[in-house]
């Protein structure tokens, strides 16, 4: 296995806010990697930094994709290298039809045959998009928009796919469906880096999990191991560790990962 993406010690600032405090990460080809963490831990910031969406960031550190440095490059360039990004909150083109949205996903491609094949592939993953082909994307439901956003990112036929909170604002059933499809996409050969709050779902489909807190990784392991871990269970999966005789938790485990 080779490292598709290699992040070394990046630090990112939002003007004065120190958001990423030295993050290193390697994504193996063919795997699903999940980054878990609380609100504001900096999960999305990692993806945005790698995509080049934050001006003049990362402040320090290097990012390599396919063995080439991509830190400080524009997203337009990075996307062309085969890295697709499904942003948080979907960000579909509201006033373009579903079909046009997908077409924009294939904006950088020239091979008509391949594009047509990918269209069919995506309609196979998400049949509802085919039904709504001519509809404005803004009129779709949240779940459909999420499917569209994933489909649009896949139209670029990426080697590596970034997913930022695909479960955001979706019903539990939809979340399960979407994660199932994410796993399928991975089996078809797309490497995936996933950022999630829904730790249970994310660990269930991922191979490797990392936990981010206050802009640092505090834990890394096989997803199966992480699921067994007491701390992870309590802090990220909402399981209680111990109850008193009266039936409520009298004390809370606190852990500082330092």
């Amino acid at each position: 296995m080779t490292n598709l993406l290699e992040i070394k010690n990046i630090e990112t600032f939002y003007t004065l806010i120190y958001a990423l405090r030295g993050v290193s990460l390697a994504v193996d080809e063919g795997t699903v990697t999940a980054i878990l963490g609380n609100n504001g831990a900096g999960k999305s910031t990692i993806l945005k930094t790698v995509m080049g969406l934050l001006d003049d960031q990362p402040d320090k550190g290097t990012i390599e994709f396919l063995g080439k440095r991509i830190d400080g490059k524009d997203p337009e360039v990075i996307v062309r290298m085969g890295l697709s990004y499904v942003p948080e909150g979907r960000e579909v083109f509201d006033e373009l039809s579903v079909k046009e949205n997908l077409l924009m996903g294939a904006y950088i491609r020239r091979d008509r045959g391949g594009i047509r094949k990918d269209f069919e592939q995506i309609y196979a993953y998400f049949p509802v998009l085919k039904e709504r082909e001519a509809q404005w994307a803004g009129t779709l439901s949240g779940g459909e928009q999420q499917m569209l956003a994933i489909g649009r990112a896949l139209m670029n036929s990426p080697k590596l796919l970034f997913l930022d909170e695909p479960s955001l604002g979706l019903s539990p059933i939809l979340v399960r469906d979407i994660f199932k499809i994410i796993k399928t996409i991975n089996r078809e050969g797309v490497t995936i880096l996933l950022v999630e709050q829904n730790a249970r779902m994310a660990l269930a489909i991922s191979d490797v999990g990392l936990i981010l807190e206050n802009g640092r990784f505090v834990m890394k392991g096989e997803s199966k191991e992480l699921m067994e871990d007491k701390d992870v269970q309590e802090f990220y999966m909402g399981m209680r560790s111990e109850e008193s005789a009266k039936g409520f938790q009298r004390w809370k485990r606190k852990k500082r990962w330092r």
Partner: protein, 290 residues
């Protein structure tokens, strides 16, 4: 009388529609009404005039030359000034476009002088045909046809070409456009070039009716802006319709009420629209649920 007023109103209206379209195209991408639009068109018209009269080139060569100049001017202004604005807000961008207007106006006055010139045009303004009781000149017919043709081309462009769709995508969500590999800066340049060329068409169609001098586009620009506000600053179709409506209303007002106050109609319409339907008559904008 009524038919006559409507027909010539439509002819003027199509010029307003062109200017409105030019403004709306830029407004949708940059979110700034470009008040330099009129002067950009005026300078392009002067370039056509110079090629035509001073250098004696044919109509085709001169007009194509003027279009190339217009496109280059649009790209230049966007690239050199608007893109440099650091952390721009709408007001400062509007001020920049007002700056364009003044600079270009001064430039034209300095280069070509303030005296009025006759702009030759291949279609005559004096030969007329009769439709019922109305009289319409060849030039007016040409204006109408050229405008409709341009609008149709624009429609096809935004509907079926990849660049056209990418332009709409950039207008709707620039970040999402970038992560799909759309070079938004380049789209911005294309937008300005396109808009500037549409403006130039309006200038060159207007110049033979009026006379060519640096004041050529002052009033039409405001009318075009009014038309865009009337139709809705966010829709191309609305802006075009707004142009025609404004042209006809204005002409009817001039014919039946007062010729002297014809010009205030445009401003009256701006005020009324902003009071009662600020989004414009035809804006069917998808409103995102929060």
């Amino acid at each position: 009388m009524f038919l006559q007023l409507v027909v010539s109103g439509l002819s003027f209206g199509s010029l307003y529609a062109l200017i409105a379209l030019a403004m709306v195209i830029i407004y949708k991408t940059s979110e700034v009404p470009n008040f330099g639009q009129g002067e950009m068109a005026m300078i392009s018209t002067f370039v056509a005039f110079t090629l035509l009269v001073t250098h004696g080139y044919s109509f085709a060569v001169s007009f194509i030359g003027a279009f190339i100049f217009a496109a280059a001017l649009g790209v230049f202004l966007e690239f050199v000034f608007l893109r440099r604005a650091k952390d721009p807000n709408i007001l400062s961008l509007i001020l920049i476009t007002l700056g364009f207007q003044m600079v270009l106006y001064g430039l034209a006055s300095w280069k070509w002088g303030a005296d009025q010139k006759d702009f030759p045009f291949p279609v005559s303004d004096f030969d007329v045909i009769n439709i019922g009781s109305a009289v319409i000149s060849y030039l007016n017919i040409a204006t109408l046809l050229i405008t409709l043709f341009l609008m149709f081309m624009l429609f096809l462009f935004f509907r079926y070409t990849k660049v056209g769709i990418a332009m709409k995508a950039t207008q709707q969500n620039a970040m999402a456009a970038r992560i799909n590999g759309i070079r938004t800066n380049r789209i911005m340049s294309i937008t300005w070039a396109l808009s500037s060329m549409i403006g130039a068409v309006a200038g060159m169609l207007l110049a033979p009716i009026a006379t060519l001098d640096p004041n050529l586009m002052l009033e039409p620009l405001l009318k075009g802006f009014a038309a865009a506000v009337l139709g809705g600053m966010t829709t191309l179709v609305g802006a075009a319709l707004g142009g025609y409506i404004l042209g006809v209303i204005e002409n009817l007002f001039g014919g039946y009420i007062s010729l002297e106050f014809k010009s205030i109609v445009a401003f009256l319409i701006i005020v009324l629209v902003l009071c009662f339907k600020p989004s414009g008559l035809f804006a069917k904008h998808y409103v995102r649920k929060v």
